[in-house]
Each structure stands twice: as C-alpha cells, then as structure tokens.
Symmetry: C2
Subunit: 458 residues, 2 copies
C-alpha cells in the first residue's frame, strides 16, 4: 500500500500543512483564563476537522473545565475498536522574547514547523485525523472501528478527564488506546513507550521544643528536630541505593530479561550524559543500569529539606522544627496509597525520642506499562519499521503522566504510546517545533499501523 499513500500524502502535503497552520494559529492555552474563547475555537476546529475526515457523531462535550471533542467511525462490523487520545490545548509561551518567530504564527524553516503546539500535541492530533481521512479516501472504509477523545486540559494535569472517562465509559469503550504524545528516541529512531512511572508525595514535619532554644543552654539535652529528621530520612535508603522502607519493593513486577536486553541494545552514551549533567559519577540502585534505574525501578527522593538557620555564618540555635518533602516514582504494580502508608509507618518506627513527627500526603499517580510483546505494541513496531527502515526502540519514561494509566485502567484497554516528536523539539519551551520528516513518515506509519493492527487482532 505504501506507494499509493506516499503519493496521496505528497499531493495533499501543502493542504495538510495549511490546515496545521490554521490550528496552530489558535492560542489555546488552557492555563490562562483569558484564552477561554480560544479553547472554544480550537475545540470547534478539531470537531470540524473530524467531520471533514468522515467521522460520525462528532460532539464537543462539556466538562467542568475545557470541553472534550469526541468523534467516531464504527462501521467496521465485528472488528476491534481503537480509541485515539490527544489534546488540543497548549502550554503558555513565556518568555516571549526568546521566540525567533511569533508562537501562534507558524512558519516553516529548514523543514521544521515552528509554533506553540506544533509537536505537543496539535501536529500529532492532526496526523491521526489525516491518516484516517486518507484511508477512507483511498479505501472507502477503515480496517477497524475508531473513536477520538481529544481533550483541552492535558497541559494543566487533566483535572476533569478521569471523571469524564468514568461518566462516558460506554461511549469510549475500546480494545486499544493509542496516544501520540511521547518522543522518539532521536532523529531517525522511532520509539514506543511501554511504561511510565507513577508518583506519590509526602511531607514530614518534625517538632521539638515550643520555640527555638539556645544551643549553649540546652544543646545535648533536648532532641534536635534536624537530627531527628536526618536520621528518619537516612534510614530510608542503604549504601547500595536500595530503598529500605519495609515492603517498598513487594509489588514491583520484575521486568523480563528480554526487555532489559532491549534497553542495553539502545546503546545509550552514559559518559556523554554524565558530562552534560555535571555529576562526578552516577549513583543508583545496585545491579541496574542508568536506563533501568530511571525507567523500570522505583525511587524515593528528598525534594526539599529545611529547618533552623539558613543565613550567612553560624547561629547557635537548636531549632524547634524541621521539614522535608519526599516523592517516590513508582513502577507496576506499586500502589501510591499503599506506598505512602508504608512510608508513614517507616517514619513512625524510626522517629527518635524527644520529638513529635507528622506526615502529610500529597499527589498520587499510578504507574503504567504495556508488555512489549502485546500484539498492539508489536503491530506498531512493525508499522514504524516499514516506514523508517529501522527497528523500533521499546523504551519507557521515568516521568509520570497519570492520565495514561487512568484512562487505560478505567476503560480496561492496553495503551500504545507511539509518538513522532523528537526530544529536542522544545516542548513547553520557546521555539517549539516539529520536524516535517516525522509529519510525513508519521502519516504513513499510522496508516500502516491500522492495517497491521487489524491483522494482529483478528
């Protein structure tokens, strides 16, 4: 099929890029209330585009925040259904002075299109629409059933999406959830992200005496809240970089040797990364590589600590309190609520005499992964390889995008994260751009994917 679609996309390239420029011209910044009208315009633009592509039942559906755009094509009787998730909102553009061209006037320089949202995520959303439009145009039908769920609050942490998905479970029901919002490994090296870490956070507050004391008068006789806090925190990790909170690793699902082999095969240049970060040496959990430590292993990090005197020189104070903030990155099947509770128990157990300690819980997000050998993942891998001519990289990401896990869990579908952006394309920063090479190859990859997926799920 490849040649026919190549010709089709070549013939329509200017037309598609002009449509992309139209969409990129709408400053749909979800974080800023003055852009509420732009959010409406952008959602309308997506809805119109879905209709034009041949989608049915297109709706702009309200939430307590910005609306979700829905559309479907369900005429592939007896075939599985794919749900495509994406977002039409973008990040703010500050600092404006660092942009080489206005963020909402897309320009093409050097085969890259520059504008806020070009790679994250308007470019990739439009590719999904245009790929289905192309198949419908060329085949008169689609190999699978399709649903679109394009939200307007991804850049503000999707505060209403879980509720929306829960409420519209039946409408959104699908066999596979596909999201194009993650980066490729590097130029020419497509990647499928098969896992994201979860997150949980807490604060530890240690209180000693009623007020700060003179270290000459009471030093040595009263527990120092900073000493107590550093003791509590130091008991959470051993010299091998393992977290020593009891039960912390109990639910961690071991990652297969073959998946670890995939990561080794990526050939990451650790020395270059070390120099970029400016650290004297890497440090992490014994027995795991740099990638494994950030992708498939959970962590416990102290994000902040404070107590007592922070000024210049010395003050002989025995402070009344001390505080720390801690977050964990979690991997399947760790549960953030359970981990928080384990840490709370650990703090309680290791609190030395003479102080009182309280623990407050913050953010929670569950980890997510789809097995590399899942048919929907393998089909995506074949599609990429056909178009890019190289084997796809199966990677994970150390960060957390809780909405991915939430949607997959509520809808009970495997999630395929197949992105077309490059890590260097300045998402969330000035001069965001998108390589047109990946716009072109991405359209072909998506078309290949739907046929591959139909074959592998049948």
């Amino acid at each position: 099929m490849s040649e026919r679609y190549q010709q089709y996309f070549s013939a329509n390239r200017d037309h598609h890029l002009n449509e992309l420029k139209e969409l990129l011209a709408i400053p749909s910044i979800s974080a800023l209330s003055e852009h509420k009208g732009d959010m409406q315009r952008a959602s309308q633009w997506i809805a119109d585009s879905l209709k034009k592509a041949g989608m049915d039942n297109v709706q702009i559906m309200p939430t307590k925040g910005h609306p979700v755009v829905y559309g479907e094509w369900l005429k592939a009787e007896g075939k599985p259904t794919v749900l495509i998730y994406g977002h039409y909102d973008v990040q703010p553009v500050d600092p404006m002075e660092l942009w080489d061209s206005p963020p909402f006037e897309a320009v093409i320089r050097d085969e890259k299109i520059y504008a806020r949202g070009s790679s994250d995520d308007k470019g990739q959303v439009l590719m999904h629409i245009k790929a289905l439009e192309a198949i419908l145009h060329n085949e008169g039908t689609l190999p699978l059933n399709f649903k679109f769920c394009i939200e307007g609050e991804e850049e503000i942490a999707s505060p209403h999406l879980a509720e929306f998905v829960e409420e519209h479970k039946d409408l959104l029901a699908a066999n596979v959830l596909v999201i194009s919002d993650t980066p490729m490994l590097e130029k020419g090296r497509p990647a499928i992200c098969t896992g994201l870490r979860g997150l949980c956070g807490l604060q530890i507050d240690v209180k000693g005496a009623k007020s700060d004391l003179h270290s000459g008068l009471y030093g040595g006789a009263v527990q120092n809240p900073i000493h107590a806090l550093v003791h509590i925190l130091d008991t959470m990790r051993n010299p091998d970089g393992q977290i020593t909170v009891e039960g912390f690793y109990d639910k961690v699902v071991p990652v297969s040797e073959s998946e670890r082999e995939e990561y080794r095969a990526l050939g990451i240049d650790e020395e270059r990364i070390r120099q970029e970060l400016g650290v004297p040496a890497f440090f992490g959990e014994k027995g795991y590589s740099l990638l494994e430590r950030t992708w498939i292993r959970p962590t416990l990090e102290i994000n902040g600590i404070y107590g007592g005197f922070q000024g210049e020189g010395i003050k002989t104070v025995l402070p009344a309190e001390a505080h720390a903030k801690v977050t964990c990155r979690l991997v399947p099947d760790q549960n953030p609520d359970e981990i928080l509770e384990l840490i709370r128990k650990h703090v309680e157990k290791h609190t030395p005499p003479g102080v009182t300690v309280s623990v407050s819980f913050f953010d929670r997000g569950r980890p997510f992964s789809t097995p590399i050998d899942h048919p929907a993942i393998q089909a995506a891998g074949r599609a990429y390889e056909k178009v890019y001519g190289v084997p796809v990289a199966y990677n994970r990401m150390g960060g957390s995008i809780p909405v991915v896990e939430t949607m997959g869990r509520i809808l009970d579908t495997p999630v395929v994260l197949m992105g077309f952006a490059l890590p260097s394309e300045n998402f969330h920063a000035p001069n965001e751009h998108f390589h047109l090479e990946n716009f072109d190859k991405g359209l072909l990859t998506l078309c290949e994917y739907w046929f591959e997926l139909e074959r592998s799920l049948s």
Copy 2:
C-alpha cells in the same frame, strides 16, 4: 570582721547606690557607634571611681575599639595578686516599648534596681571597687595585691581583648583572675561557675549536578545531594546520643564523681524544665543527667539545614545542592581546631559517591574550667557560705564566653567566676534589674573573699 563591714556598708548604702545610678545613667552601648562618646564617659567614670577607691596607676588604655580601664594596688608586698575583670559596656535596649521605666534612668522598686547594665555588669563592677574601698578605709591596707581590667567590648564578643591582654601580659600578670558576670543558681543560692563550654562551627555544602534536575527523568540514577547530606549528618551521632566522629571524645577530661555528686545535690526539677520547653521527653547522651549533658559533655548540633524545594506542596525536583550548619559545644581539653579537623575528615569519609562536598570553618572558642578543689575556688565558696548562710553551688554553664578562657590561658591563671546576679534578672532584655539583697550581700562576700583568699594562698 563581718559586723564592722555590715555597719560600714549600711552607713554608705545610699551613697553607693547613688554612684551606681550615676554609672547606669551613661548609655554605654558598645554595639552602636553613636554611643562612642558615652563609652568615653563610662570609661572615665570607672577610672575616677578606681582612683577614689585608692587604686594607683589608673589608666584609660586605648584598643582598636573601645578602651580598657586599668588600675592597681600593689602594696601588699610578697602577697599574691588578684586580677579583677569586668565590663562597663551594655547591650542595646530595643524593644524600648517593653521597658517599664527608661533604661538609663535607674529606679529602685521592690528592693531591685532597674536599668540597663544594673546586673550585667556595671552593678557587679562597682561592687568590686566599693569592696576594696571599704577594706582600705577600714584596715588602711589590702590583704592581697589587686589589678583591675574593665573592658568596653564584652557585649560585642571582646574583639580586641585577646590582643590587649597579649600586649600587656606583664602589666596584667596575676595569680588569680576573678570575674563577676555569671548568675547565681537562684534567689538565696549563690553559685561559683567552674566551667564554660567552648565552641566551634562549620558549614557543609554538598553539590550534585550542574543544575536542578527533573526527578522523573533522573531520579534514581543521580545522587541526590540532600540524601548525601542527611547520610553524612546521620553518621555523626548514634541512637544513644553519642557523637560518632572519630576522636571526638579523645581529649575530654573525665569529670570527677564528687563533682557529678555536687550536680545531683542541686536538685534540679527536670519535669518543670521539660514542661517549660514543651518537649515530649529529654534526649541526650546515655549515662548523663540533664545538667551533665549541658555542662560537662560536648555536643554536636545541626543548627540549620536547607536544600531543594521549600514552598507549599510538592515539587518533583532533584536539587543540585544542599547545605547544613553545625556547631559543637566543647569541654576541656577539646581543642576547637582539632575538632573541626576531625569533623572535616568524618565528612570526607562518609561522603557517598556522586557528589562533591566542601566544609568551611567558622567561630572557634576554647572550653574552660577551674577544678572545684582549687584553693581560690574553695575560698570563694567559704566566703559565700559565711554571708549567705548556705553552701555554695558549684555549677557550670553550657554556653561559651571565649574571653574567660582566653584571659586565663594568656595570663596562665586560674579563673574564679563568682557572680551575684540572678538568672531571672533580664540580662540583654527589657527591664534588666539587680536585686539589692545581692548588692548588699555581694559586697560583704567580696570582702570576706579577699581575706579568705589571702589565708588559703599563703
């Protein structure tokens, strides 16, 4: 002798108190440059008072800061020499609105004299002058030789005194150094302070990556400077409250069982202190009481710690640096320079991989003690007991007054700290006052002391 001197001091009481009021009226605040003229006036007042009392060779001696007032009486041929140290400068008076009467207009209410400097230290300096004047008046001679060294910079940490003493070693040479600038145990319970703790301070700076990192991208693979810092700090103390810096206790001179028995006999109400401080329990070095922990044992306290995010909620940052400030209180014969070096080595030894750590040194002051059984101390104890009718308390103080150790060391004399103030008399605070009961009894005690001392040193 007691009755004769009682009559003498009764007859001269109004006269003495009027002189004290005159001295207290001079706002000799050493910290504030606008009071430079007052510093001159106060030093002149002291010089005149010494002359009037019968001292010879009275001089107002310049330093790089405020002058020192010197005076002597050296006609007790073949007898030992006593050097009396005190200070004519006072603390600032803010916050003014909390004073019930103007700080430099002394008033007597309820047998207490209220004014800045009344107890710290003008009242006690004048008592020394008036005691010698009384003996000269009544006996026509003194039982010992005497020298006065009354400085003007004690409240700003005596920045020029060590140099002054070093330069005038011969002029100031003495067999005993007597200072009245420490408190009694409580009303009616005189105390001789036989030890002060020394001090040393340092800062620990831990650096990791070039800049703050995203804990999702790098968490688990890069050493977290806060983790490194809490580990370093936690290794400095064990659960029994002992400092585990190698060699820390090596030079600590054990305190005799009889001295520890003295402290037990003081009958401190620990439960009352615990409630006042608001701590759930005391915590300190195993095997020592509350008083011993603050008086005769060295400490290592973290006075401040900071690194990473300190705002509300959670920020998933892996910070680039973390910092701590540490001070130690030292006891004889610990040397502050040696202790700083031991801690530096400890930090080096316990620094985990992946970070660089630097240590900077701050303040240093040596510990001081005079053995309880020293004849000069015992003579003071007998003098107190004769006048107050109760055994004197031999105590120590947990704080540091480096000048005491410095003078004692340079002049190679034992130091007798016999004070007449009460801990409740608001030194350094609004409504500083001095109980006239101790002015009256103190004059008698000092007279008794010089005769007792003559007998015990002969």
